[in-house]
Amino acid sequence: MRRAERAAALLAFAVGAGAAVWALWPTDVPDDLELPPLGQADVASAAHIREAERFETFLRWDYVLAEVVVLLVLALYAWRGHRLARESAAGRIGTGMLLGMLGLGILWITQIPFGLAEIWWARRYDAAEVGYLEWLLGYWLGLAGQFGFICLALAIVMGFAQVLRDRWWVAGAPAFIALYVVFAWSLPWLIPDDRPVDDPALAAAAQRYAREQGTDPIPVRIEDVSAYTDSPNAFAAGMDASRKIFIWDTLLDGRFTDDEVHVVLAHEIAHHSREHIWKSVGWYALFAVPGTFLIALATRRRGTLREAQAVPVALFVFVALNLAAQPILNVVGRRMEAEADWVALETTDDPTAARGLFEQFTVVALADPSPPRWSTLLFDTHPTMLDRVRMAEAWRERSEGRSHP
């Protein structure tokens, strides 16, 4: 591209991205909302906070170290990995797939100690029931999925690169966005061991909340996970016709009151009613375009992704970019979660249950109610439990202001 064309393309992308951010950024949470000054002592006992801090600190550092090793290993692989092409008798794309899979395979091996350390630590705190061998087997089987996925991705990218050379990203980015949509859309059917809700009150609440949030009824399913874990969870999946809400049976085992479960339900419905899954497609697209472009740029010296030799470099750049984008995606994620909390408060009118839910979560999940800022920045896809409690209290103040003018 000539310089003028390049500048024009960059400008067009910047304008488009700006418009997209402008459309995706706002939430229902009032801009002038002031969170009351609560401290972590207000949401958990001192003993719990001490234990949770100890518990989470280890996991945090385990994770950070693991990521450092990931980057080191992939950097080494980007440097020397192309030599493994000698183990292939396949053509360009086949050899590329082999190099991609071997890169992930090597990575997989290096991550075993960190995974085992995490299990060991979690077992010490009774936060995991999974055995070491069981975990290793699951981890091993997971690798098959990773191999399948990277082969699909490389078939797309390298297929385009055979024709478009280093401009493959022009077709590659839309292809990945389309794949993301397909995956997000079909996710509800990929969930194993799910069944309909058996509690009529919960089903009725789901109908009511959906109506109040201005959306069509959304099917609620119970996912049986208590055999593997006792940590409580729920999530929203699918888009449009495939929308569903999944509640783990661990949330319904009596540790949470009905009102607290209803807050979770309203929160998940809010993810759908506020179109969070479509919005995450938008955010993904916003990152996929420059991301694929940067990968194309970085692999030029190895002959672009037309050649298998470029795959190790592409893998490194891809993982590094993902890691770099994580803090930004976390900010986006936390905004959506805050919006879902806010809409749930508006729907249930029950800040006491919301607060109870978050406090109980803190206890059950052995969560640090207010982790260090750097950790939130790097890892947290949800607001801290302390912030969520503070939002519930802020909502209470506002609603009291509204009903007693």
């Binding site: 493994l84 396949a90 797939m97 899979m101 395979g105 090597i106 082969c151």
Partner: protein, 405 residues
Amino acid sequence: MSDRPVRLLVTDDLERSRLTVFFRLLLAIPHFFWLGVWTFGAFFSAIAQWFVTVLRGRPVPRLHEFHIGYIRYATHVGAYLALAANPFPGFLGAPGYPIDVEIASAERQGRLGALLRLLLALPALFMLVLISGGGPSGVGPYWVVSGGIVAAVAFLGWFASLVRGCMPRGLRNLAAYGLRYTAEVYAYVLLVTPVYPSTDPRLPAHAGAPPSHPVRLDVVDDRRRSRLTTFFRFFLLVPHLVWFSFWGVLALLIAVVQWFFTLVAGHPASPLHRFLAAWVRYQTHLFAFGFLIANPFPGFTGTPGYPVDLELPPPGRQRRLVTLFRLPLALPAFVVSGALGWLLYAAGIGGWFAALALGRMPSGLRDAGAHALRYSAQVNAYALLLTERYPFSGPPVEPSDDAPG
């Protein structure tokens, strides 16, 4: 393989008496009893031999002779049952039976090897079950029904011998291979020899060379195996298995079309022939990679040039009658192919551990697996109308200058 401790002697002329073939199993009843008695004696004398060898490093020569006689006798009975030989065997294991073994005994043996003999023999015993269902012993009828390649051969050979009055050379040689391996395992377990049993399929020249076949397997593999790709071998197949299933469905449809065409025209259609040839070749490459018969990651198109490759004939005239009954005619070959498939699995599993430890594939396993691949390719080529030549199941033979003097 003249350096092997067990040498196979084949003087059988393939002629079979239909009468004794028909009653073969019943005629063998006295031998079952006698073999049972002999097995009983061999079991206890082997324990004595084991103590002596572990303590002195030298087995007792008398017991050696007894065990060699036992192995010879068991081989004769096995050959009689598997229809690898015609005459009713004697009860003393005397030399001279049409399928016989010569066993070189070792007077000195390492004490550690002797001490751990049974433990070390486990992989070989595992192979033995696959090849001959454990071998002929006092529980003869058990052996007949327990599967294994020799049992499959006996089953098919029974029909063939009744119809034709002679045993097909391929089946006879396959049985002879199984009997030799059985004898090698017995000789190892009974401390006759410290040499580990080899699954090397090559037979001595006097077993009769296989007829030239239009479907040939070319092996230019140097037995080096990358430990990395060996470790992940199973999962590296993921993209191939997806591709394999798509291609397989298509190949099946094309084969049906080809069948009609060949039936009408008297010769296969060239483009379809090319397509099916590429499919059979791809299958060979893929299985060679998957079962560690070759090292590099194969391509997806079945293009020639892989270290374990297939030579396939061009389309030629085919008799319409043979075409019409192609599938029923192929049925026996599929049975043998299924039995040989176990050999492939054994080569893959055994080879996986060996290649991880040594970085090389043992030649016995590699060649045994290659033989199974060759036969499977011949069966596929026959079923998919690439050739009307019937598959030949016999293992390869040594060049004739290596014949026993």
